[in-house]
Symmetry: none
Subunit: 125 residues, 4 copies
Amino acid sequence: MINIDVKSGVPIYEQIVEGIKNLIIKNVLKGDEKIPSVRELGRKLTINPNTIQKAYRELEYQGYIYTVIGRGNFVSNQSEKPNGKKVTELIDQAVKIIEELRYLGIDKREVEDLISEIYVNEAGE
Amino acid sequence: MINIDVKSGVPIYEQIVEGIKNLIIKNVLKGDEKIPSVRELGRKLTINPNTIQKAYRELEYQGYIYTVIGRGNFVSNQSEKPNGKKVTELIDQAVKIIEELRYLGIDKREVEDLISEIYVNEAGE
Amino acid sequence: MINIDVKSGVPIYEQIVEGIKNLIIKNVLKGDEKIPSVRELGRKLTINPNTIQKAYRELEYQGYIYTVIGRGNFVSNQSEKPNGKKVTELIDQAVKIIEELRYLGIDKREVEDLISEIYVNEAGE
Amino acid sequence: MINIDVKSGVPIYEQIVEGIKNLIIKNVLKGDEKIPSVRELGRKLTINPNTIQKAYRELEYQGYIYTVIGRGNFVSNQSEKPNGKKVTELIDQAVKIIEELRYLGIDKREVEDLISEIYVNEAGE
DNA sequence: GTGGTCTAGACCACT
DNA sequence: GTGGTCTAGACCACG
């Protein structure tokens, strides 16, 4: 379910963070669902469990999962996540990227189409 | 014109890349305009010229500036920039961020307003 | 009467210790009063009796309850509790926390108000 | 400057966090001052640098230090620290401890004396 | 079996 | 030289 590219230069733990976050955002992993144990995922991806754990700890800090010692890691319920600062940061990032796209000749229409595609399933959740 | 924050955790050379790129995108620095020499910028920002050099090499690689040996570094003309891969990457990044914003409860309208703000000056350039 | 939050990261047995200790301190559970059996509390909180057992052993070690084999667990009388080391430890903890509060800008007045609130019912007990 | 007790049961990295935090709170380490590198402190305390780093990362999360890659770790300026949630948590902890002290027979006067001792140097900073 | 901590040792990126 | 990442392997606490 998660693809790791060790040659990409992106830290492995970060790829795992992005991968799991993506599964949560796409609603493949749902609230209170158990995610693989550090050892299990380590075996599957042939990655050291410590690296997985670093990823899981980061996900916990960001509010996407919670840990129950002795039982495993679970997806947080969205409603419990604190937003605020996080949203502001994301918006700043989005603005920077869209400004660059604009500079490179992508016009408003194309960007709006992108947005529409992302929000297309809005009713369906 | 460029603000460096050593405490941010972002590598200094990368902050310089982003800073200059931003000036180019915002059209403060125009095509074929000369940008400061590595030594000059190093003095101004009290940063090691090697770090500036690294940033300039990265900007050149990304197609934002070109170097004339013995004369200095200059802003590329937009038309000369290769798009393709770069645009695709940026779009991927944008999609990921907007998906996350959507997950965090930001609705379509708010994102569209953002886009409109960025593209507001489109005619005027 | 005791709230367990498995997501908090605090071991469950420790939450039970704190919960019961709190009921004793707040005088909800009084000296020589019987507390629920490990099985009974386990059923109520849907927690493994072994975990409750561990909590009770810890409470007994700390002097808050005593066990009569075959009869159950009972709240100790305050006068029977050994102080000394325990009090010293608690004071050390309190000092550390208040020093940190001071560093974070909380002034003496605010801390004193806190104390007053806690000791407000002193006469009435 | 920091005493580590490997037999205490308290994780080493946590003892380091507490130790450094204490030096900062007591103003022994001042704003923007460099703290020992992970390797240096590791050598001094004969502890693995990875463990030191874990402690430093935690201190960074808590806002007590900041890291400049390639240069080292530095004490944050107090004014830059965000408070809010942290203060509330500390107050909750303080209340619990003082309630327990009260139960164990420590009277209001003794606790107030403690506060006065902690705040005695207030003018001197 | 689960996560949490720790060590030893290695390699890389940043300045 | 500094921090950042990663591995391999070990031991402990929790439930």
